[in-house]
Symmetry: C2
Subunit: 463 residues, 2 copies
């Protein structure tokens, strides 16, 4: 139980690739076969299969499905992939598929499209659904308003248990897709005044009024509540859904635990990508080359400038370097190792920020903790690399220069790496994207400077 | 709505630090104050406040709380932090707190302790709960068995709606913490035969037998199902919980959507940390320095060896380097930029593996996609850096050497970065941890070799 086995993919039990079969179905325009093909796919395979088809094939396949199956397929694909597929469909077809989705999924997918594309689809939608989507689209996608669903059960406080049961029975089919756990009780102004669990209805006499049995003044959140606050809320409360109210206290939706968890997971994925220099959100290889290349280059071109700035330090010490050419071997090692040490600190700070264990104003606490670690790791790594340098050239002063430079630079990198994410976060900038380049530029410059200036000072003993 | 505002933390509305107030409460041993203090903390603040207290203060604070509040607090802390706190408590106290937690949380926390510590706590627990924990602890924490809860409602198929409602009413208090959505129907051998939604009970005549109204042969998963398969399942099914069966088809638990989402989020966090070279799981700064330092050094010491191996290429070309000392300025730039390009590819492949869009055997599809991108980015970056080299020294051949080396090395880094995670995953190794060091060693070596061998070939025109 102790070691999480995260590479559980079992290669042995995999079926032979079935997308050739899919190509035949598409070519034969066989709706029935398309449907049963989709049903028999192991979970998760649909995303992979779709990613391997050309855009035309994807569209032809979608055209073979009924709207409900197409909606189901789109919901199980990564949002970016579903968005690409959607943007290639005629707006009328897209709108029909949309009508089969939950409100939050509609909005998430429209987020992937251009303004014109999403407007074209909304116009073709069922008018009531369209109004709802427009209403939801006004919210920041990472706020309670953007994460909530509007499919909820609300009743006026003067209604009775029997009213609710009758209503549920009459619309059983519609509510079947609602995943109801709570019933919300509102007053005549549509303001939230109470909540009832479904199981409470089971145990109540039919004639009882809702306001006589509801939990009054239930917890609710304003529609502007941030994802992070929602995450903290669900961490510390065993609830499935949280009613969302607008500025007038009106009940506007329900944000569910699962949506908050999923948004958190997606955010962690994007943080990971930004940390490695992928800008503009998710990158899937099904995106056009032009977009992928441009996004990656935009980050690389900033880095190349920073790299040139850092390396210009070396150019200032060309003479020293010419005298002790062995230094050129150690320059990349010192800068790279310090970068690694600093990145570890960045990762821990970024993670602690996400977990809510630290905040920007805790910088001194973080600095103190990191100073000790920087000293221990700096001394250890300095002795290691200094020893190698000494043994290689048989010159203890070379060992001193290299070891001393790496030790000091590690200490600096560890402390800077820990603080940079806090500083960026304090200025409301994105720690994941900018911390790495800022750190490595500083550690490169400082590393080159330390090696070369120490060498210049000890030059007589190095030659 | 388009730009997710992920830095939503609002510095203005924050209260002044309240942990000094907490220190006073702890010093005064004021139980009542401790309780109301905890209640009034904004969501998420508890983790941060606890992280700032010394270990002794944390224990004194926990001692002031009743078991239920203490359990509640521990559940809202990051697992690592809660585990540390727990390991410092006397086993009797820890066991009392444990009895207030859900079964899956108990097991997650025991995972953080040594064998001896967790055995000491289990021995002090309520015997029934202890047996349950021992049963759950046998499972891999990232499988359906490790993620499931055992608090579920199951009834025999011959029972009636009235039996269920009576049972629910009689044990309303116990079930209040269960978050019930489904009722599971089993046969005399405890095998799962059907499922009922709570709302179905609302609409049924009291005397009806469960097997006359249940959904027969419900979807269930074996207890060994992997987290990844569970994620795919919940992606494509609108269910809240999924019954888990053992090898004898017996119903052993329920894995809930929220637990799967949360496990996915935690896994994404750990992947992020491993990617930056933090081994051994979560690192919080509240861990002892010795452990933090040793974990980071274990990864850094592998890296320093790899760095020395790569830099030894430079040592082989000392003469060339002495002749054209300007090359020493560009060596770190070429190796660093290629590392950045390769890391972008690693991140995209790792992410696509997590999303299930690619699998190891799709390597050729990935390679083809990345080849084009490597060419475009290689040529662009080569021209950029080659241009800088040419302008700096006024020597077009220097530009050719540097630009050509960076271009080729970028192409190689992009392709290798895309494939390495697939290869590692194919061999059931961890792509996040090992991809980076393998890539940078290869790109460093290759980058140094390309710059210096090109320079040697063009040496007459470079001096």
């Amino acid at each position: 139980m102790n070691e999480p086995a995260e590479t559980t993919e079992n290669l042995e039990v995999e079926q032979p690739d079935s997308w050739e079969q899919l190509e035949q179905i598409v070519a034969a325009k066989d709706s029935e076969a398309a449907r049963s093909y989709l049903k028999e796919l192991p979970p998760g395979e649909d995303a992979r299969i779709m990613a391997q088809l050309t855009e035309t094939e994807q569209q032809e396949f979608i055209a073979l499905l009924n709207d409900e199956d197409a909606a189901h397929l789109m919901e199980s694909l990564p949002e970016l992939q579903a968005g690409q597929l959607l943007s290639a469909l005629p707006p009328e077809k897209a709108a029909l598929i949309f009508d089969e989705m939950h409100s939050d999924e509609q909005v998430d997918l429209l987020d992937q499209l251009t303004e014109a594309q999403s407007e074209a689809i909304i116009e073709q939608m069922d008018p009531e659904e369209a109004e709802n989507v427009r209403f939801l689209a006004q919210y920041d996608s990472q706020s309670a308003g953007g994460l909530m669903i509007t499919e909820l059960l609300s009743f006026e406080e003067s209604q009775t248990v029997d009213d609710v049961v009758t209503e549920l029975r009459q619309n059983a089919e519609e509510y079947a897709t609602y995943n109801v756990q709570y019933i919300y009780v509102i007053n005549a102004e549509e303001q939230l005044v109470g909540v009832l669990r479904l199981r409470d209805l089971l145990m109540a006499p039919p004639g009882r009024r809702l306001n006589k049995m509801m939990i009054a003044n239930p917890t609710s959140v304003p529609d502007s509540t941030s994802l992070q606050d929602l995450q903290h809320f669900f961490d510390s409360h065993h609830l499935f859904g949280l009613p969302v109210i607008d500025a007038d206290q009106k009940l506007v939706g329900v944000v569910r635990r699962e949506d908050v968890e999923q948004a958190g997971e997606e955010q962690a994925g994007r943080t990971f990508l930004r940390f490695a220099g992928i800008m503009g959100g998710e990158e899937l290889r099904s995106l056009p080359l032009k977009i992928r290349s441009a996004r990656r280059l935009s980050w690389l071109s900033i880095n190349i400038v920073l790299n040139i700035v850092a390396a210009s330090i070396i150019a200032m010490y060309e003479e020293t370097l010419e005298t002790v050419i062995a230094l050129a071997v150690f320059l990349p090692i010192v800068s790279d190792m310090s970068g690694c040490s600093g990145n570890q600190s960045i990762a821990v700070s970024t993670r602690e920020l996400v977990l809510g264990v630290i905040r920007p104003r805790d910088w001194f606490h973080v600095f103190r903790k990191e100073l000790g670690l920087g000293l221990v790791n700096g001394i250890t790594l300095g002795i290691l690399l200094g020893g190698v340098a000494y043994l290689w050239k048989g010159n203890p002063y070379l060992g001193l220069v290299i070891g001393g430079a790496l030790g000091l630079n590690t200490l600096m990198a560890v402390c800077l790496g820990a603080l940079i994410p806090l500083i960026l976060k304090g200025f409301k900038l994105d720690p994941a994207l900018a911390s790495g380049p800022i750190l490595t530029t500083l550690t490169d410059m400082c590393g080159f400077f330390l090696v070369l200036s120490f060498a210049q000072a000890l030059l007589p003993w190095l030659t």
